[in-house]
Amino acid sequence: MWLIRACASIQARHMGMADMKSPAPAPSTLQRMRDSDIWYSFKQSPITIAAAVVTVTFFLCALLAPWLAPHDPFDLVSMDIMDSFLAPAWSIDGDPRFLLGTDDQGRDVLSAIMHGSRVSLFIGFASVLLALLLGVGLGLWSGFVGGRLDAFIMRVAEIQLSFPTILIALLVNGVLRGALQIEQQVHLAYVVLILSIGISGWVQYARTVRGSTMVERNKEYVQAARVIGIHPWLIMLRHILPNVTGPVLVIATIHLAVAIISEATLSFLGVGVPPTEPSLGTLIRIGNDFLFSGEWWITIFPGAALAILVLAVNLLGDWLRDALNPKLR
């Protein structure tokens, strides 16, 4: 984050200097990235490179699922009930058309996983974004204003923190679904999920941002901004916000893994994405019914996909936390 910002400011300065015919050219963005500490520490860690490759592959597969997937799991016409319960292609009664086998309706498991990770990643990103906006906003406000408001927001955060996230998510989920009609529940399943996971995750952001805001608040540049009469909202957004967002990126990466797990858990518990447009969690839930009759691939492959995705994102988050921590250099 700071890297991009630094580059942008350098570029802006560079262009300004070009007008003044400055002789020393600043290094290009690409050059700066190649020389940065982060890129160096990335290159030094093979596990991180592997995790990045896996994550990027998942993102691409999810993004391009409608074009990459060998079959369309939502197209009822192309599905054939005669193709149901086919084992993976390499086993004796497998079918080369379906690499990872098919489920009870003759859906290709590989295609379902690709479309499923699309749903999982979308909900994961959206809930992280919601939690981030909520948490950074409240943390900034709380730290800048202080006093009663700060005490109130932080008490709420503390109470919420003393309960497990998944319990809060389940509760928000239950309330939202209760407030909706049955047919709305299916249409708004994504919104309900994003709200429940997002609301259950804001505390981490808020506490971190509040802490750094309280430090920044008393620095000279903020006092200077106050003295020249800039509106407090503008000071918060334009001056303090850019200086407190450093750790947010790390929290967001780790939170993405948590959000994907939460989504899968809620869907597995049957209060998440409906089976018509399954996420990874829904796929595992559907497949779980066939585990005993020997059709293990319907549940184990989506489960493995989920585990690998979460592990990769977690590893990236761990690396990012260490790489951005100046004490560990």
Binding site: I261, I284, N288
Partner: protein, 329 residues
């Protein structure tokens, strides 16, 4: 000391009050309770009479007071689905959940601590690296997936352990226990491992880092200089000093275990409170949701309170600045 306990008690009361308020607002949010109680053919006049009789026309503060008074006396109304008093349902289900939670906590403690000590002492050992990698995978795997994998291996493939239910339970007084029959113990193994695995990795990592920390201190060097044997230094001096935070964390985690039991109970169809809560969420059965929420909050508050007081008793440094005592959320 007395002032500290009184302040913590007051804080706990406020938390309980807030949770009760949230639980109460659930009722306001979600539909008309009259619709849940009467049939379609009930006339408007009768509905209005029932409404008046149940006190639903009173101002909300009066209704909340009534709700809180009933809750304190253990009366949470009648379940919409089961048409039975919620308190009876919960009392019936509680032993199953508490037994499962307790056994998993013990499992994670008695396996996690030795693993932590081992990895702390042999930092670069081959086995330590395996333990650490496995623990990272354990953190990345969602609970329900671990449960499914265990069922797949031990119930489907090997067929040695049951995959659902609680086995045969016997009544000891009014407490139904599964610990006295062999089928009950067999049924307990897989759910207890599933539930305890996350806590196990947490405890193992905690003990490891605490051991590494303690082994560097002066009194350990002094103990070695006195010529004490390795085992006396490791277990008599080092381990003893790591156990205070471990006991605290285990205590605090006990609440999370009870809450996470929702997922494990669903995977294994374990007849406990969590499974009932989940069914209540799926069917928007507000009385059960509210009661479960208040009960869990009560568990959390009591455990937090005990841990805080224990901390205060154990660690003399906290007596100087009591406000630091509740900073570990």
């Amino acid at each position: 000391m007395v002032a500290f306990i009184i302040r913590r008690l007051l804080q706990s009361l406020i938390v309980m009050f807030v949770v009760a308020l949230v639980a109460f607002t659930l009722f306001q949010f979600v539909g008309d309770p009259i619709n849940q109680l009467v049939g379609v053919e009930t006339g408007l006049k009768e509905r209005e009479e029932l409404r008046q009789r149940l006190g639903l026309n009173d101002p909300w503060i009066v209704q909340f007071w009534r709700f809180a008074l009933n809750a304190v006396q253990g009366d949470f109304g009648i379940s919409y689905q089961h048409k039975r008093p919620v308190t009876d349902l919960i009392v019936n289900r509680m032993p199953a959940t508490l037994e499962l939670s307790l056994i998993s906590a013990l499992f994670s403690l008695f396996v996690g601590v030795p693993m932590g000590v081992y990895t702390g002492l042999n930092r670069n050992g081959f086995l330590s690296k395996i333990f650490m990698t496995v623990s990272l995978v354990g953190i990345s795997l969602p609970t329900f997936l671990i449960g499914i994998l265990l069922i797949f291996v031990f119930s489907v493939q090997l067929g040695v352990l049951p995959s659902f239910g609680r086995g045969e339970a016997v009544l000891v007084g009014s407490w139904s226990t599964g610990l006295l029959t062999s089928s009950g113990i067999k049924a307990l193994i897989l759910p207890a491992i599933t539930l305890g695995l996350f806590q196990l990795t947490l405890i193992m990592r905690l003990v490891r880092s605490e051991m590494l920390e303690v082994l560097r201190t002066d009194y350990i060097k002094f103990a070695r200089a006195r010529g004490l044997s390795n085992s006396a230094v490791h277990f008599g001096h080092a381990l003893k000093n790591t156990l205070v935070p471990v006991i605290t964390i285990t205590g605090l985690q006990l609440g999370s275990i009870i809450a996470f039991a929702i997922i494990t109970e669903t995977v294994f169809q374990w007849p406990g409170m969590g499974l009932m809560f989940l069914q209540a969420i799926q069917n928007v059965d507000i009385p059960i949701m509210a009661a479960y929420l208040i009960l869990i909050a009560f568990f959390f508050v009591v455990i937090n309170l005990i841990v805080d007081i224990l901390y205060y008793v154990v660690d003399p440094r906290l007596r100087i600045d009591p406000s630091a005592a509740h900073g570990h959320g």
